[in-house]
Structures are given as structure tokens and as C-alpha cells.
């Protein structure tokens, strides 16, 4: 199953905000297992979810922004 984390995402192409759950790579992809690519339900643009190291960096930036 895709390794998509359930949270709100914003599509970088059309700006739609959406819940990432259920929007992960389709099982028909031979590399879907562990894949973090998600697909915008509005315009179908695909992009990797910011989890792992990128997720940690995002968290750090968000915390710094909130502290300011």
C-alpha cells in the first residue's frame, strides 16, 4: 500500500486543498508500494507528499513560523 500520510495537502498546480488519504499512488503502478506520490482530486496533478526528512523540515519551518 502507498505510504501516504493522512493530512491536508495543497495542490501545487491548481491550489486545491484536499485530504491526502485515499489519494496515493494507484496499485496499478509497479512501484506503488511505499510510494509517497499523491494525486490532486481536482486537476489530477501528482506530487510527492512531504513526509520523511522533508516532513521534518516542514514541521521545523512551521514551528518557527508559529513562534514568530
Amino acid at each position: 500500500m502507498p505510504a501516504v500520510v493522512k493530512r491536508m495537502e495543497t495542490c501545487p498546480l491548481c491550489g486545491t486543498g484536499f485530504d491526502a488519504e485515499g489519494q496515493g499512488c494507484r496499485p496499478s503502478c509497479p512501484m506503488a508500494s511505499g510510494c509517497r506520490v499523491i494525486c490532486c482530486p481536482s486537476c489530477h496533478y501528482s506530487f510527492p507528499q512531504e513526509s520523511g526528512l522533508a516532513g521534518k523540515l516542514r514541521g521545523l519551518l512551521d514551528r518557527r513560523r508559529a513562534a514568530r
Binding site: L13, G17, R36, C39, H44, E50, G52, A54
Partner: protein, 688 residues
């Protein structure tokens, strides 16, 4: 199909009876993923029926509710972005609104994406549909500093506007109270004179359907909605149909873009004004006048071209020159070959006590690694070749490309790039919607092949899949191509670019001619242009690098392993000999390019990286001859037109089936070599 459990058959029967007897219907409408189904569940309770909409495989859920003491049918429709359908799902939603009678519409809107929701509101208002607007996810919007003045929006629209949090049932009671008094919204859109004149001809010819106003139907017809063709044929006389077509042709001739695009654009302008009136704070629809102007110039048919050229040139300078020259040189030579490889070799010799094992892993001591066949450190060593390809050659190039891509995304230019390329792709025999998978293909052809599903017909899906596999280089390959082109003259780079564009053009055009079917329009909402935030760009780039490392690096290692095994059993020499008639005889390339081509099937960028390494010393020394430049162009053309990677081939197999996949493969392999050979002959004849 009924989703309720067998034990609840009695309740199901009761529901069917209620549905039959209920005099009125509530239809839930909204963009995808806005919480319609949650609100539907909250309104109807546990027992619902799910059935395919007649003639389609699209599911529609029905339930019942008691509103103001009376029973009501409740229908949940597939998510849509407008009433002029661009997919089967959207057509089902539009058809429900078109053919149902005496209903109230509950439009569910994601407050965070209010602008998109208001675009549907404007169309429901044009259609005269009695409605209530639910501003769902109001809590998430507020937490992001985005607040909407709901009373003001209600006053402007003249309908009830209820902020809701569907998952917590907040606002549910107000919706239940408001639905019986639902009324059409007052928002009206006045289009250009040419469109209004066409509407004045078409609207009186439309027959009432019960659901949508005749003006709304006329707008769909003007927008080229083919799904209404059967309805028109059934309700209009041939002379009336000719009048409609004539009015549509006359209006369309006044604009360079399609009428659907013009209508959407003018509707969006009204929505933008309303949006700015009711958004109290947070994201307004445009940051500044300059942002608005730049945004508009970047999609302008004339002004947009120099902007596009400037953006592409900046991408080339950053990726092709900085990434491929400065960063690769630093990582490959100063970090990898001068430090990491010797350190790793020393560590292997220190940790492995047996001489035979040392020689197997790191080759004989004192011999340069490129001259022996060590398993980890050697000519085809997993560390010295696999990791150096992945980390020292391709990674710096794709990392700079990913930075560029993230900047394009974060600035809002990427969708504008899609709009500009839309015009180009239309000339290639593709319909405008194909832009998305094609642009996505510049990121990853494998996921872009999957995205070809958004195309409406099999013909379109096959053409897009073919062109993706044939001529759209993925980010990693594009980056290496940029790097290779940075080492040759501008004329040689132009030969490459012109060949690929011409091939895409020709194959797309021919495929569109050969395969019957029709195209459709591409409508994409354009977010405002903005200054990219460096933090965001860093996070996006890091996410993509992680994705690249997870997907590409294992294939690089597998490719190196295959090369190592082939080298040990003498397979490379055999392959080079077997491929020599094509590689040397037809393409005039060095014999060593054969292994790069064969392994290019694992990943095109792997093959390109091999070629990069072959020509790098000449580029650095400034001793590239014209004949070498021809070789580089021929090799790049052939590899670019090759199957992108093994993952992409499996995806084509999964998506299109054996027959189409083998047909695509059977076409691409000889075609790529044929084009490479033609370019070779032409360049040698005209350029050398």
C-alpha cells in the same frame, strides 16, 4: 446495488418506500473532496442505497431525511468542478441537475478553496437552481487565517450560507432549517457582447428540462458541450440546430481561445470580485496589481512567449550549467573519485582480511579502479559506478532541476506553463487536456502515464501514453540532457530540440489522424503569481529528492549489478559486438555506447549518465569536435525517443494491456533508432 447489511432489509424497504413517497429532493453538489458525503451521511443517517446512474458506471448514493416535518429524498452526486462536464462523473452530476424536478440543491464548498466553490455557485445561479450554500471545513479555513464573511456572502447571493464542520455535525441544524426555503442565487454574470448576442439566439431555442434554466443550457451549448448533442437532436428541428451552430460559430470566431475557455474566464472574473468582497482576511485572489499583470502577461499569446523563453533559459542556465557543470564536477571528482572511492576502498581492504575477498570486492591493490573488475570498487563496481552515477552525476542535476520545478510550482508559473504549452500541444494533434500528463511527464513518465486516465477516450489515452513513452524526457533524464547539451554548441542543442519537437508533432498529428475520435478543452484555474517562499521550495525539493532516491537509486544499483555480471561473463563485449551494426554502423556512435543503450531500458537517465561520462573529459578540456557533437546529438535523440524506464514500461502494460504495450514498444524501438540514424545522416550532410 445496496450497501446496507442483509439484516437491515426491513429498514431498506422502509427507505425505498420513503424515497418513493417523498415529494421533494435535496441534491448535494460540490467540488471533489469537500465533504459532501460526510454531510450526506449526517443528513440521512445510516441507511442509504448506492446504484449506478443509468447508462454509466458512476455510483450515485440516495437516502432520505426529514426536513421541516416532511420526508425528502437526498442524493449525493460525484464531485464536479462545473456544470459543463469534462468527465463521466461530472456529466452524471450535471445530468442529475438537468433531469431531476422540484429539488433543492445543497452546494457543499470547501471554505479553504472558496474561489473554486463559487465558480459552481455562479453556474447554479445562472441555472436558476434553488440552493443553500454550506461553507464546509470552516474550522480548517479559520485555522489557516482564512475567514469568510458568511452574512455578506448570503446577502450578495440572496441564499442561505451556512458555515459547517461536517465531521462534527456543526451547522447541520441550520442546513436542515434552510433547505425547505432554498431559492435561486441572485449572482448574475454578464458576458461579452459577442457571447450575449449568441445567447440571445440560442436561449429561446432551448426547451425547459425542469432542472436547469434555458440560459444555462445555452451557455453549455456555446461552450461546446458534446454531451448535450443527443438532447439537442431530440428537441430541436434541423433548422434550429443550424441556427444554434451558426450562433456558436459566429461567437467563436471572435476569440483566439475556445468559447468554453472564454466563458469560464469571464465567469471567473465575476467570482474573483465576489471572492474579494467576502474574504475577510487570508488569501485574497491576487497579491498585487503587478502580480495580476504578470499573471496575465505570462499566458498572453504574444507577451507570454518571451516570458516562457526567459523561464526556460533560466532553467537551462541553472540546471544545465550550474547543476551539470559546477555541482557535478565538485561531487563527482572532488568528493567521489578523489575522496569517497579511495576511502571506501581503504575501508574494504582494512575490514576484509582475506586477500582473495579484497580483490573480489575492491580489485588488485594499486590498480586504478577503472582498470579492474572489483565488485564494490571497480569499472562496474556497485559503489564506484552505481552510487557515483546516482549520487554524483544524476543527483546534483536532478536536485537543481527539482529546485527549479519547486520554484515554478510555488510561484504559480507552472499552471501558466501548462496553459502556454496547451497551445503548442493543440498543434500536435492533442487535445488541450493532454497538457497535464505531458507536463507531469517532465517530472516522471511513470506517474504521468497513470495520469493519462484523465483523458476521456481510449484514443486520447493511447496517444498520450505513446508520446510520453516516445518523446517526453522525465526530470532525471531531462536534467542529464541539459547537462549534455551544455557541453555542445548552441547549434547542436538546437538540432536536438528541433528533432524532438518535430517527432512529437509528427507522431501526435499522425496518431490523431489514424485513430478516430474527438478532442476536448483544457480549463485550469490559475492561482495568482506570487514570490516563492524559500522554506517551501526547500521542503518540496527535499521531498522530491527523497522520492528520487527511493525510486531511481535501487534501479541504478540493479543496472550496475547487471553490468558487473555481464562484464564478468564477457557479455558486454558480446553485446557491444552484437549491437555494433546498429550503434556503430547505423548511428555512427562509439562501440561503448551499446551498453549504455541496452541499460537505458532500466532508466533512460542511466544511459544518458553513461554517455555524459564518456564525453565529459572532452567537454572539460574544450576538445569537443563537431563530429563528437553530432554523436552527442544522435545519442541523445535516440535515448530520448527510447522507452523511459522499466517502471514506465510496466505501467504502460498495466494501464493499456499487453497488445497496446507491445505495439508501442514495437513502434518505439525501431523508430528511435531510425530517427537517430536520420539525424546522423542529416547532420553529417548539412552541418559537418
Amino acid at each position: 446495488m445496496t450497501r446496507n447489511p442483509p439484516a437491515a432489509a426491513a429498514q431498506s424497504e422502509r427507505l425505498d418506500k420513503e424515497l418513493r413517497e417523498a415529494p421533494r429532493t435535496v441534491i448535494l453538489v460540490g467540488n471533489p473532496n469537500v465533504g459532501k458525503s460526510v454531510l450526506f451521511g449526517a443528513l440521512t443517517g445510516k441507511y442509504v442505497t448506492v446504484s449506478n446512474y443509468p447508462g454509466t458506471t458512476v455510483e450515485v448514493t440516495r437516502g432520505s431525511a426529514v426536513l421541516d416535518g416532511s420526508p425528502w429524498n437526498v442524493m449525493d452526486t460525484p464531485g464536479t468542478n462545473g456544470l459543463t462536464p469534462m468527465s463521466e462523473d461530472e456529466q452524471v452530476t450535471r445530468d442529475i441537475l438537468l433531469w431531476e424536478r422540484d429539488y433543492a440543491c445543497l452546494q457543499v464548498c470547501d471554505t479553504k478553496n472558496l474561489r473554486r466553490g463559487l465558480l459552481i455557485t455562479a453556474q447554479l445561479a445562472e441555472a436558476g437552481v434553488p440552493m443553500v450554500l454550506a461553507l464546509n471545513m470552516a474550522d480548517e479555513a479559520a485555522s489557516r487565517g482564512f475567514q469568510v464573511d458568511a452574512p455578506r456572502l448570503a446577502a450578495v447571493l440572496g441564499v442561505e450560507v451556512v458555515p459547517t464542520v461536517a465531521v462534527e455535525r456543526k451547522g447541520l441544524a441550520q442546513i436542515q432549517a434552510a433547505l425547505p426555503g432554498a431559492r435561486p442565487a441572485k449572482l448574475s454574470v454578464r458576458y461579452d457582447q459577442a457571447i450575449e448576442e449568441a445567447l440571445a439566439v440560442v436561449t429561446p431555442l432551448m426547451r425547459e428540462t425542469g432542472g436547469l434554466s434555458t440560459r444555462s443550457l445555452a451557455l453549455m451549448i456555446l461552450g461546446g458541450d458534446d454531451s448535450l448533442r443527443a438532447h439537442l437532436e431530440a428537441t430541436l428541428a434541423p433548422a434550429e440546430r443550424e441556427q444554434v451552430e451558426e450562433a456558436r460559430r459566429r461567437a467563436a470566431s471572435r476569440y483566439p481561445e475556445s468559447l468554453r475557455f472564454v466563458i469560464s474566464k469571464q465567469r471567473l472574473a465575476v467570482v474573483d470580485r465576489l471572492h474579494d468582497q467576502v474574504v475577510v482576511r487570508g488569501a485574497r485572489s491576487a497579491a498585487s496589481d503587478l502580480g495580476r499583470k504578470l499573471g496575465s502577461w505570462s499566458t498572453h499569446p504574444i507577451l507570454g512567449v518571451p516570458i516562457l523563453a526567459g523561464v526556460l533559459f533560466a532553467c537551462y542556465e541553472f540546471v544545465g550549467v550550474f547543476g551539470a557543470k559546477v555541482a557535478v564536477d565538485f561531487l563527482e571528482n572532488q568528493i567521489f573519485y578523489d575522496r569517497l572511492v579511495p576511502w571506501f576502498e581503504a575501508a574494504v581492504r582494512f575490514l576484509v582480511p582475506w586477500k582473495a575477498a579484497q580483490e573480489f570486492l575492491a580489485g588488485p591493490a594499486g590498480v586504478p579502479f577503472r582498470e579492474h573488475g572489483g565488485f564494490l570498487v571497480g569499472r562496474y563496481g556497485l559503489f564506484s559506478m552505481g552510487l557515483s552515477y546516482g549520487m554524483a552525476i544524476v543527483l546534483p542535476i536532478v536536485a537543481t532541476f527539482f529546485v527549479t520545478f519547486s520554484l515554478l510550482e510555488d510561484s504559480g508559473y507552472l499552471p501558466r506553463l501548462a496553459v502556454m504549452m496547451n497551445k503548442l500541444f493543440k498543434r500536435m494533434g492533442l487535445n488541450g487536456k493532454a497538457v497535464l500528463p505531458m507536463v507531469l511527464g517532465l517530472g516522471c513518465d511513470t506517474m504521468a502515464t497513470m495520469t493519462a486516465r484523465i483523458m476521456e477516450t481510449r484514443k486520447e489515452r493511447v496517444i498520450v501514453t505513446l508520446l510520453l513513452a516516445l518523446g517526453v524526457p522525465c526530470s532525471a533524464q531531462l536534467a542529464v540532457v541539459f547537462a549534455m547539451l551544455a557541453g555542445v554548441s548552441a547549434a547542436a542543442a538546437a538540432w536536438f530540440a528541433a528533432t524532438i519537437v518535430m517527432v512529437l508533432f509528427l507522431v501526435g498529428w499522425l496518431a490523431a489522424k489514424v485513430i478516430p475520435g474527438r478532442g476536448s478543452d483544457f480549463v485550469l484555474e490559475l492561482p495568482p503569481l506570487r514570490v516563492p517562499q524559500l522554506g517551501n521550495v526547500a521542503v518540496k525539493t527535499l521531498a522530491r529528492i527523497e522520492w528520487y532516491l527511493r525510486e531511481a537509486l535501487p534501479l541504478f544499483i540493479a543496472g550496475t549489478l547487471l553490468l558487473y555480471v555481464l562484464d564478468r561473463v564477457g557479455g558486454i563485449a558480446w553485446l557491444e559486438q552484437a549491437a555494433a551494426p546498429v550503434v556503430v554502423g547505423v548511428l555512427d556512435l562509439p562501440r561503448q555506447a551499446a551498453s549504455a543503450f541496452i541499460l537505458g531500458f532500466l532508466r533512460r537517465d542511466y544511459a544518458a549518465a553513461g554517455l555524459f561520462l564518456h564525453y565529459e573529459p572532452f567537454v572539460k578540456a574544450g576538445t569537443m569536435t563537431r563530429a563528437m557533437e553530432v554523436e552527442v546529438v544522435v545519442a541523445l535523440v535516440t535515448i530520448t525517443l527510447f522507452i523511459p524506464c522499466i517502471a514506465n514500461f510496466f505501467m504502460i502494460l498495466k494501464e493499456r494491456g499487453w497488445k497496446t504495450s507491445l505495439a508501442i514498444l514495437g513502434f518505439i524501438l525501431p523508430f528511435s533508432v531510425g530517427v537517430g540514424a536520420t539525424v546522423n545522416q542529416l547532420m553529417r550532410w548539412l552541418w559537418l
